[in-house]
């Protein structure tokens, strides 16, 4: 079958691309490790870019080889976990979404948080932005429940990606005015939920709706 023939050729040219990007920036040992992990990962549909980026970063920061190797392995694990978490939420195998999921893990979110966002059912592109924003919010100190609640409400409201991208800045300015990250996120959730209902009906004076509760992770099954 053509696809079977094409795969090894694609991997070969990908390997050459990786070697070029790493040449002169990382040691040969690290380069070999990255190529190995990238090839194995690509066969499972995982992106290689995050591995390459992390290796280059380590080289630029003059980090010893063994620490760079450990960091690259960590990224490889995160990509695996992110991919599994996304699959659990729906048929998503978009490499940008997987990269964004791995970033969310770095920022402190969990695999179930990623699955919860995937379950919202947004497009791959919106989900990717959602995951990036969720990770960024976590990096700002928003606890995961408020974080996922806010991002999923915004995703569900069907607004364009720009509204997601503005969330971190809104949280930062609320925090600068004295709010906690959690409270800031909760306030934005209420606003997003209100906007999802397209504002108050022409009779106004209505209470804003209750914020959408964050999705509860499913309890583990009996062993």
């Amino acid at each position: 079958m053509l696809t079977l023939l094409a795969l090894p050729l694609a991997l070969l040219s990908q390997q050459q691309g990786i070697a070029q990007r790493l040449a002169g920036r990382v040691s040969p040992n690290v380069a070999a490790l990255v190529e190995q992990l990238a090839t194995a990962g690509a066969a499972r549909g995982l992106p290689s870019d995050p591995l390459i980026q992390k290796a280059i970063e380590g080289g630029a920061k003059s980090i010893p080889d063994d620490r760079v190797a450990a960091a690259v392995r960590l990224v490889a694990m995160q990509l695996d976990i992110a991919a599994a978490a996304l699959r659990e939420g729906g048929p998503v195998s978009d490499t940008l979404a997987i990269t964004a999921g791995a970033f969310a893990l770095t920022a402190g979110l969990s695999a179930s948080d990623i699955t919860a966002l995937a379950r919202v059912g947004a497009s791959a592109q919106a989900l990717t932005v959602g995951l990036r924003v969720a990770g960024t919010l976590a990096a700002l100190g928003v606890p995961s429940a408020e974080d996922i609640g806010l991002v999923s409400t915004t995703l569900r409201s069907g607004q364009p990606a720009e509204s997601l991208l503005l969330l971190p800045a809104h949280v930062q300015s609320a925090v600068a005015k004295g709010s906690t990250p959690a409270a800031a996120a909760a306030g934005l959730s209420r606003a997003a939920a209100a906007q999802a209902r397209q504002g108050p009906p022409p009779g106004h004076g209505e209470h804003p709706p209750h914020p959408t509760p964050p999705p509860h992770p499913t309890p583990p099954p009996h062993p």
Partner: protein
């Protein structure tokens, strides 16, 4: 294997041993919470459970080549975690399970209220006074909901000996709860 299918435990174990160690993370994620409750009730707190589960995963990784049935990784992992839970007892007898009270109390504001929290705490404290074997059979049956047959299979022991352990556990629990009420 087509991309997108969920890999089986055995496939992941074999892949790790064949030179893809980063794949192990999928197993960690898959089973991280499976025995968390068992560990928490055995050790008295979620914090202790976290340490035990973490240590068990690391040990399982180190000894992965000794896993006889890769397709039953989870059963093998349970035994490693079990050993780790039993070892904990020898480490820190002095530590009272204060975290049990805190973690129970924090969550109980919404379900059951203060009285339920207090009773849960009392029972957990009483459980910590049992031998680990007695506590374990109680936890597996009354927390995890396994039958005596399932427990016997998992621990490679007989149902009558389990019942003997359990019945002693019932008596000791009653004694502890009466003494401290």
């Amino acid at each position: 294997m087509r991309p997108g299918a969920e890999p089986k435990d055995g496939d992941i174990v074999r892949a790790v041993l064949a030179g893809e160690p980063e794949r192990y993370a999928v197993l960690v994620n898959r089973y991280r919470d499976r025995y968390a409750r068992y560990a928490a009730r055995m050790l008295g707190s979620a914090d202790a459970a976290e340490d035990a589960v973490q240590d068990a995963f690391v040990r399982a990784y180190d000894q992965l080549a000794q896993c006889q049935q890769p397709d039953n990784f989870v059963g093998w992992f349970f035994l490693i975690l079990r050993n780790r839970c039993f070892a904990e007892r020898r480490r820190s007898r002095a530590e009272a399970p204060l975290e049990a009270a805190d973690s129970v109390a924090a969550a109980d504001r919404t379900d059951g209220g203060a009285e339920t929290a207090e009773r849960r705490r009392a029972l957990q404290l009483a459980l910590m006074e049992l031998t680990p074997d007695q506590r374990e059979v109680f936890v597996l049956k009354h927390v995890e909901g396994l039958s005596y047959g399932q427990i016997a299979e998992r621990l490679s022991t007989s149902i009558p000996s389990l019942k003997m352990r359990m019945h002693r556990a019932y008596d000791r629990l009653r004694e502890q709860l009466r003494e401290h009420t």
